[in-house]
Point group: C2
Chain length 385, copies 2
Amino acid sequence: MPNAIPEDSVGIVEPQSARFDSPLELACGRTLDSYELIYETYGTLNAQRSNAVLICHALSGTHHAAGYHSVDDRKPGWWDAYIGPGKPIDTSRFYVVCLNNLGGCNGSTGPTSIDPKTGKIFGPDFPVMTVPDWVNSQARLADYLGIDVWAAVVGGSLGGMQALQWSISFPERMLHTVVIAAAPKLTAQNIAFNEVARQAIMSDPCFHNGRYADHNTLPRQGLALARMVGHITYLSEDSMGDKFGRDLRSDKINFGFDVEFQVESYLRYQGEMFSEAFDANTYLLMTKALDYFDPAAACNGNLAEVLKQAKSDYLLVSFSTDWRFAPARSEEIVNALTQAGRNVSYACIESPHGHDAFLIPNPRYQAVFSAYMNRIANGIEAGAL
Amino acid sequence: MPNAIPEDSVGIVEPQSARFDSPLELACGRTLDSYELIYETYGTLNAQRSNAVLICHALSGTHHAAGYHSVDDRKPGWWDAYIGPGKPIDTSRFYVVCLNNLGGCNGSTGPTSIDPKTGKIFGPDFPVMTVPDWVNSQARLADYLGIDVWAAVVGGSLGGMQALQWSISFPERMLHTVVIAAAPKLTAQNIAFNEVARQAIMSDPCFHNGRYADHNTLPRQGLALARMVGHITYLSEDSMGDKFGRDLRSDKINFGFDVEFQVESYLRYQGEMFSEAFDANTYLLMTKALDYFDPAAACNGNLAEVLKQAKSDYLLVSFSTDWRFAPARSEEIVNALTQAGRNVSYACIESPHGHDAFLIPNPRYQAVFSAYMNRIANGIEAGAL
């Protein structure tokens, strides 16, 4: 934690848990009889219960989007730059909910949880999740919290896909959709990178077909490799160049295969840290949810047709150097929304930071995001008066 | 082989071998006391010995650039589209030489060769090679073949880097340099992808610190993964999309981690084939030679200053959708050559095929390449009359 909690922080937050005992049918045909979701909330739900905002997380995100878990916490939540008093998602005006998705490894039911049917952990037997499955489970969390209609559903990357799906699955239960650095579906290249990540994990001899826990081990090398590949795709070529260039760790080339360039050292470190903190079966499942996402498939590839059932207004944001989900991918969604007759605001933000830009402070992005969210808050507060 | 050998093929070719017994000092400080180079030649050396063209190969290339090894051969050499009678490198006019680089695994001395000092295979003890080392070893092959001056030194990708280095190391021994789809040095992102490939190989439990031969095994999974990562960077996003899109192998999603999308199947197959045919220690060494290449480093990063010692004319070619070595990287070389006062022709070719475009038939590329090479041949033949 910083020396003192910053004034624009939501402060110390405590995760909460909700248990669901009615079966959830999944796209894969299987059913989860019961499950728990871990979540955090920031801000206060107004009397009309009309100021609630749902935050959907990306591949490796968690329910901990803002604030600190304790005074000893060294880092705030993953979207702390955008959630807090006076920030784009202004917690002095909104009641913000962020959960760990089903299949995650941060407290919600997932591969590391005990399967009540067997008394053993699910491991690879946990069902493959899809974005619509997540949205269904999130709607139940809304019921549990007494939120009939979200003021907005918001997400970046895979989180943006969930927000988009929300507007299709539950058009009556939300007024605004914010889709940041996302795509209407993955390209062959996106799937190819995910497949390399999966192969890295599954070919690790410690993977044991996903039953590594039974063997008291973890597929650390495979997961680290998967993260290294992913990490390269999150950064722009320029930002990697600016950050590391061709700088060596020591003053000369050593003509060997140990770490020599700073960029190698950085990537290995990132991979190793991640492999200690994240569950490999969850990683596999998250990449599959990405690969499968394709809402237009329901209408023979016609996204505009699918979006005709949506009712919300939209903000779409992309970043100039994002090559994982390039601005053109957001523009596909914008065009389909326009064709479907939806109200849509769109900004492509100049940023050197590639896909990661959606997490990083940026004045123009903050301005666009704040303006859109403030308009929503103004409307709510005018209605509540 | 096709039913009949095509008329524009160099036909059946036979690799030859040259042995060198004077020590070769390497950039790493070590010395190779003796070594062999395997090579092929196509066409006829003229009486003036002035029509010789050297072809330098890329990461996974070999000495077998054109023609067939036997009537049963199913595929011609790797650059058969560009080498042969009437082709850009016209074997009815040029005497063409292509060798397997030192450290390779196709017949030249490399990690799979016996170390005469120990009587065991080199394995990981084979010295790390650099582009200047290769150029020095190629100059000795020129001596052996009685070629004082190359009409041209030609290469694509890592081969283009060798051609560029030739013009710096041996300006008196060549008249033309053809650098295709190359870069003056790798970016941090390029190095990062290489590092992922190396980590994939080195973390394979069958790698045994490079002594897999002693354990009668091969790091197949690691090498396959490395190739999968590399392969993604050789193709353009669009060409992957056109080739595979999001097509499934069967008629529906199976909600599991087996191969589902065509692009996954393709990549796994490519990886597996490669891992049977290529040596992992050679792969490591080749990626390091790429990482280290940086001729401008000799002049504090000033490439134009380094190129002032060159004397040849140049043809540079890049491809519009190549994101591994994008057109801008070739243009850095073009600009430095112009600043250094060299004659340089440059073409950026429209192609959907990404980095792989340098290997693939393309009318505009063939026209530019042919025009340049024909001009050289005309000059030689005029001088020889």
